[in-house]
């Protein structure tokens, strides 16, 4: 936990500089509205925000309930990236949550989409090696997993 906090505050400060006034609100919720839930892996904590209930309910009905948590799919699988992302998600979602200024229905940001795509491969590399890339072709493009498997994590 200790280490996490440190990592977090580093990111936090970096953001503070970048976002200035937004910071106040963000940190407020981050602490009091359990934004720090992002630092844990228990999906229940994500559902601390009613806004996440839909995904939480969906997740419990999904094929991945027993095999993948929210963070398995929504945070990178390398340690630094993981907590950086958690901090940033935690910070921003706290911010949005409080200011209520976000697009509904909630959609993945481009960055999280990439993260999620990679997370599929993290677990399913073996299964999808053959199809993943048309090999060494110039400007290689990955197949998008979620184009077809949109609902594996939580039914859509």
């Amino acid at each position: 936990m200790r280490i996490k906090i440190i990592k977090l505050s580093v990111v936090g400060i970096a953001m503070g500089l970048a976002i200035g006034s937004a910071m106040g609100v963000g940190v407020y919720t981050f602490v009091y509205a359990k934004g720090y839930s992002y630092m844990t892996n228990d999906p229940q904590n994500c559902a601390n925000c009613h806004i996440m209930n839909e995904q939480y309910d969906g997740w419990q009905k999904s094929s991945h309930k027993n095999v993948a948590t929210c963070n398995d799919c929504h945070t990178p699988h390398d340690l630094l990236g993981k907590y950086a992302t958690k901090a940033s998600n935690g910070f921003w979602h706290s911010y949005y949550f409080t200011t209520n200024s976000f697009h509904e229905p909630i959609q993945l940001t481009e960055r999280s989409r990439e993260i999620t795509e990679q997370s599929c491969r993290y677990c399913h590399q073996g299964m999808v090696d053959a199809i993943s890339v048309s090999l060494q072709k110039e400007h290689t493009e990955e197949v998008s997993c979620i184009r077809c498997h949109r609902s594996v994590g939580h039914l859509h």
């Binding site: 960055r111 299964m127 090696d129 053959a130 199809i131 993943s132 060494q136 290689t140 197949v143 077809c148």
Partner: protein, 436 residues
């Protein structure tokens, strides 16, 4: 992140080379040594199973020297004799069958009775065989040139130059296995189409996304076409766009006709398998779905998943073809697809009945000595109506690829037909009681 991805890809070596493949390896059996699973699927295209409107039915025939095939697909002409009237005077009125799997493409072309009716050009080969190596040979490495040479040959001369139906090399780069467009006719066609959309000098192998390639490889053959000029150059009429009205406008402009209708004297057109064109007007293509998504769905083979190379009707494989995207039962998906097809089929029949009436009217007045001047307007309506109807009749999904567009086209076909009949009733010959 992209860098991460790229690094991963370099690291990855997803297949073990048992044999070295070169850009001249045509025989799929050899490719199959490196990719046995895909090869197994590829070979399965000999299966014949019928669906409500697709697949194909194996009907037996006694082999002859002229046509050694002991099994063919059912005859569409026997299923619906009105087609003979629509195509009267053209080779299709003699022999037209339900299409079947890729494995048969070469034989079915060689032995169709249409070969006996007219001398066919080498251009036919482009879509019925593994022609890539042949292009290179005839063009000394220049496939565009080789393509032109192949088109110029008489069919049976050209036939000698090739051995396999469509094979791995026609869709894949032998070194990377990446999809690749090998058909010059498509390169030119899609370039002209993109230009009509404001995209200048489009190079498909350079500019297409991977997802687009999953449709384009099919669009090399599953398209409307004609043979341009004396050199019979295979051409896709997409300069003005992919919609039926764009294509007709193109043919009108270049004054192309496929034949002169035997009963009416109208200069008419035959549409052929415009799957790619119709598909492009549908919701699925708007949503970025590709031919391969439905016709070559991923299938699980042990610890791997691969593209099912048993290219066939998705309705024979709904769970893999549809259910990953549509979370509902197989029977429900089958029902949805078939009710779309049912609706298209009914409209097609209305349109065809109407067309047969117009042809009859024209015939009677012509025989009664009506002048070409009198008949001209009605004949042009026949040309229009027939092309619109055939655009859906010849398209092989019975409307599924673009449900509303298919019905729209048939509705307009009916309008053209009826206007043709009305035009006839304005003629002197009609006034003087020739239709009764």
């Amino acid at each position: 992140l992209t860098n991460i991805m790229e690094r991963k890809n370099e690291a990855r070596n997803p297949f073990f080379r048992v044999v070295e493949l070169t850009d001249d390896t045509t025989d799929p059996e050899i490719w199959g040594k490196n990719f046995p699973l895909q090869f197994d699927g590829y070979k399965k295209t000999v299966d014949q199973t019928r669906t409500r409107f697709g697949g194909s039915e194996a009907s037996h025939k006694t082999p002859t020297d002229a046509d050694p095939r002991s099994i063919v697909a059912q005859s569409r002409l026997e299923e619906d004799p009105r087609l003979k009237t629509m195509w009267d005077g053209y080779a299709f009125a003699v022999d037209f069958r339900e299409e079947r799997g890729h494995a048969f493409m070469l034989d079915d072309q060689v032995f169709t009775e249409r070969q006996n009716v007219v001398k066919q050009p080498g251009s036919c080969i482009n879509c019925h065989a593994s022609a890539y190596a042949t292009y290179k040979k005839l063009g000394n490495g220049d496939i565009a040139l080789g393509f032109q040479e192949l088109n110029k040959l008489p069919y049976f001369e050209a036939r000698k130059e090739i051995t396999h139906p469509v094979a791995c090399i026609d869709c894949h780069d032998s070194q990377t296995m990446a999809l690749r467009i090998t058909r010059p006719a498509f390169m030119t066609g899609i370039k002209a189409y993109k230009a009509s959309q404001g995209v200048e000098n489009y190079d498909v192998n350079r500019d297409a996304t991977r997802q687009e390639m999953r449709s384009f490889v099919c669009g090399q053959c599953h398209v409307e076409y004609y043979f341009k000029g004396a050199d019979k150059q295979l051409t896709y009429p997409w300069e003005k766009g992919l919609k039926v009205e764009n294509i007709l406008a193109y043919y009108d402009e270049v004054k192309h006709k496929d034949w002169t209708h035997k009963q009416t004297g109208a200069e008419v057109l035959k549409a052929q398998h415009p799957e790619f064109e119709l598909f492009n007007q549908g919701i699925h293509s708007r949503a970025g779905v590709a031919c391969a998504d439905c016709h070559m769905p991923y299938k699980r083979e042990g610890a791997m998943k691969i593209s099912d190379h048993h290219v066939r009707s998705p309705l024979l494989n709904i769970s893999q073809s549809c259910q990953t995207c549509h979370s509902t039962s197989e029977s429900e998906l089958k029902f949805r697809a078939e009710s779309i097809q049912e609706r298209t089929f009914n409209m097609r029949n209305l349109a065809m009945n109407a067309l047969v009436q117009l042809i009859e009217d024209l015939k009677v007045l012509k025989e009664a000595g009506a002048t070409d001047l009198e008949l001209a307007p009605a004949r042009d309506f026949q040309r229009k109506a027939q092309f619109y109807l055939d655009f859906i009749e010849a398209e092989n999904s019975m409307g599924f690829h673009a449900p509303a567009e298919a019905v729209r086209i048939l509705g307009e076909s009916i309008d053209f037909t009826r206007q043709g009949q009305l035009a006839l009733r304005e003629t002197k010959s009609f006034q003087t009681g020739q239709l009764r």
